[in-house]
């Protein structure tokens, strides 16, 4: 059911761990739904120079976390914000339909970590600070859009 690329990123996840004194940290999902993603970013001159993650979740959740870190390292903050769940899924050669919400979670984790970075640095145009982390299981979108 999983592509070889998903299995590769699950078996050998890239960038697992934490970043000390990270510039932005985002945590999305909840344990009740069975997946939590925590993304750590190191940002220099508006460029993401390092990203690490910790994930509680299924194979797809781990793989989407792993590929997301690869997709954003070296990108500017704005470029990273433009990464969609579709791009995350495509980078893994697709995900089974029931697992598409995992790619949403990865996209949300990136956004939440960047929001945290913006809040900490007074760059935020949105003081709310919680874009996605309040979602409940029922709100998770299973379809790619």
């Amino acid at each position: 059911m999983y592509s070889d690329k998903v299995m590769d990123h699950f078996a050998n996840p890239r960038n697992v761990g934490e970043i000390e004194n990270a510039d932005g940290i985002g945590e999305v999902g909840n344990a009740k739904c069975g997946d939590i993603m925590k993304m750590y970013l190191k940002i220099e001159n508006n460029v993401i120079v390092d990203a690490k993650f910790k994930t509680f979740g299924c194979g797809a959740a781990v793989a989407t976390s792993s590929i997301s870190t690869e997709l954003i390292i070296g990108k500017t903050v704005d470029e990273a914000l433009n990464i969609t769940n579709k791009a995350v899924a495509e980078a893994l050669d697709g995900l089974p339909p029931a697992k598409m919400h995992c790619s949403n979670l990865a996209e949300e984790a990136i956004r939440a970590a960047i929001q945290d970075y913006k809040n900490k640095n007074g760059l935020s145009d949105n003081e709310d600070g919680c874009i996605t982390c309040c979602k409940r299981c029922e709100d998770i979108n299973h379809d790619i859009d």
Binding site: F10, V16, E27, K32, K54, F56, G59, A60, V62, C137
Partner: protein, 396 residues
């Protein structure tokens, strides 16, 4: 199997044993006759079906005339519940079952609720046991059926079926039990236990898939389930799956004859696994009753990790098992059984079911016990929930 697998998922299905396959093959080759045909080939098939019926009856101490072959255990459950409900509508519309039944029972009951029936779903205790006293208290003047599974497919808990059967008999209510997981693992005498209807399946007993049976006690009022022929004395039309039925007969015969010896082995595998996993992996609990438990079932919850990831990592090591996590169920909710015994969603997501079979060895367990702590540890290191525990923060 084209790669070496250590198979620990016997509650999901079992391989057909070679003795069973041998008995089936003639009916897939030369003896292809339709049991309803009057010539020699037909009569041979008919004899084979009736011989299998006797074997199934003997295994549960029933009369062969009380055994009706079906296409699966699920079909037997559907037939038992809908059949009793519709043919006893004039007496009442209330059904009592439990919150930990297989979906074959639960979804059938929900369907009946949409058709005007009233269903009580009894709770279970933290070990998954149904209280006979709760059954008694749930009985109303309009109760027509009690359906309680013999042994649970996920956590292995064996229910006090004899006590519940006694209550049902005293109150004059029809009693059905889904014994798909129990047959061949637990001695069953339908008369002693006052069982009116019992569902069973071949593929859990080293028999083929696609064949099951429903025991219907003589005199129980139940409508026919499939219409269109005189097979199964007009109660379940369809040309018989002769090879499958022969396979069921042989499989159930072997399973019941070897039960004692087989259980001794399963218990030794199970108890060693439970003991060592609980000893060697912290933040782990056993799900299901420690004593009243199927001999081949071990079910654990590992905190801070998710079941599907665990299964994938075990699979990479050639170990096949299953989980009650949402990700393996195709929904966002973890197993209804694990929730019913009071586990939080978080803990239920981290469950692992290991079900042993006759071909497993202690060498298989050595491999499992060697790999499991490392895999759990690896997933925990990746988990943001475990991070909080390591830092001494309270786990929420």
């Amino acid at each position: 199997m084209d790669r070496k697998t250590i198979y620990f998922d016997h509650a999901a299905t079992t391989p057909i044993s070679s003795e069973v396959l041998e008995k089936m093959l003639p009916y897939l080759k030369g003896n292809f006759g339709n049991p309803s045909s009057i010539y020699y080939l037909g009569r041979e098939s008919k004899k084979a079906v009736e011989d299998a019926r006797e074997k199934v009856a003997k295994a549960i101490s029933a009369n062969p005339r009380e055994i009706f072959f079906t296409g699966s255990g699920t079909e037997a459950d559907n037939w038992a519940i809908k059949g009793v409900a519709y043919s006893n509508k004039d007496k009442g519309n209330h059904i009592i079952t439990t919150s930990i039944e297989h979906h074959a029972v639960l979804h059938t009951c929900r369907y009946l609720e949409s058709d005007g029936f009233e269903v009580t779903y009894l709770p279970v205790d933290e070990n998954g046991l149904v209280s006979p006293d709760d059954v008694l208290k749930a009985i109303k003047p309009n109760t027509i059926l009690i359906s309680v599974m013999f042994a649970n497919n996920e956590i292995g808990t064996i229910q006090p079926i004899g006590e519940i059967g006694k209550i049902a008999k005293e109150k004059g209510i029809i009693f059905h039990t889904d014994a798909v997981q129990a047959v061949g693992n637990v001695p069953i005498d339908v008369n002693e236990l006052n069982i009116d209807l019992l569902s069973l399946s071949a593929h859990k007993l080293y028999g083929p898939k696609g064949v099951g049976a429903l025991y219907i006690k003589k005199g129980v009022k139940i409508t026919s389930f499939i219409h269109g022929g005189a097979q199964e004395r007009g109660r379940r039309a369809s040309t018989e799956n002769v090879a499958g039925i022969v396979g069921l007969g042989e499989a159930i015969k072997i399973a019941t004859e070897n039960m004692e010896e087989n259980n001794k082995k399963l218990l030794s595998l199970r108890d060693r696994t439970i003991e060592e996993v609980l000893k060697n992996i912290p933040f782990t609990r056993l799900n299901g009753d420690r004593q009243n438990r199927l001999p081949g079932n071990a079910n654990f919850s590992f905190e801070f990790i998710e079941g599907e990831s665990l299964l994938l990592m075990l699979d990479m090591k050639g170990i096949a098992a299953s989980s009650g996590s949402a990700c393996t169920s195709g929904s966002l909710d973890p197993s209804h059984v694990l929730l019913a015994i009071g586990l939080s969603h978080e803990i239920a997501h981290g469950s692992l079911r290991i079900t042993f079979g006759k071909d497993n060895t202690h060498a298989d367990i050595d491999i499992l016990l060697n790999e499991l702590p490392e895999i759990v540890g690896r997933l925990r290191e990746m988990s943001p929930l475990y991070e909080k525990v390591k830092r001494g923060k309270q786990y929420v």
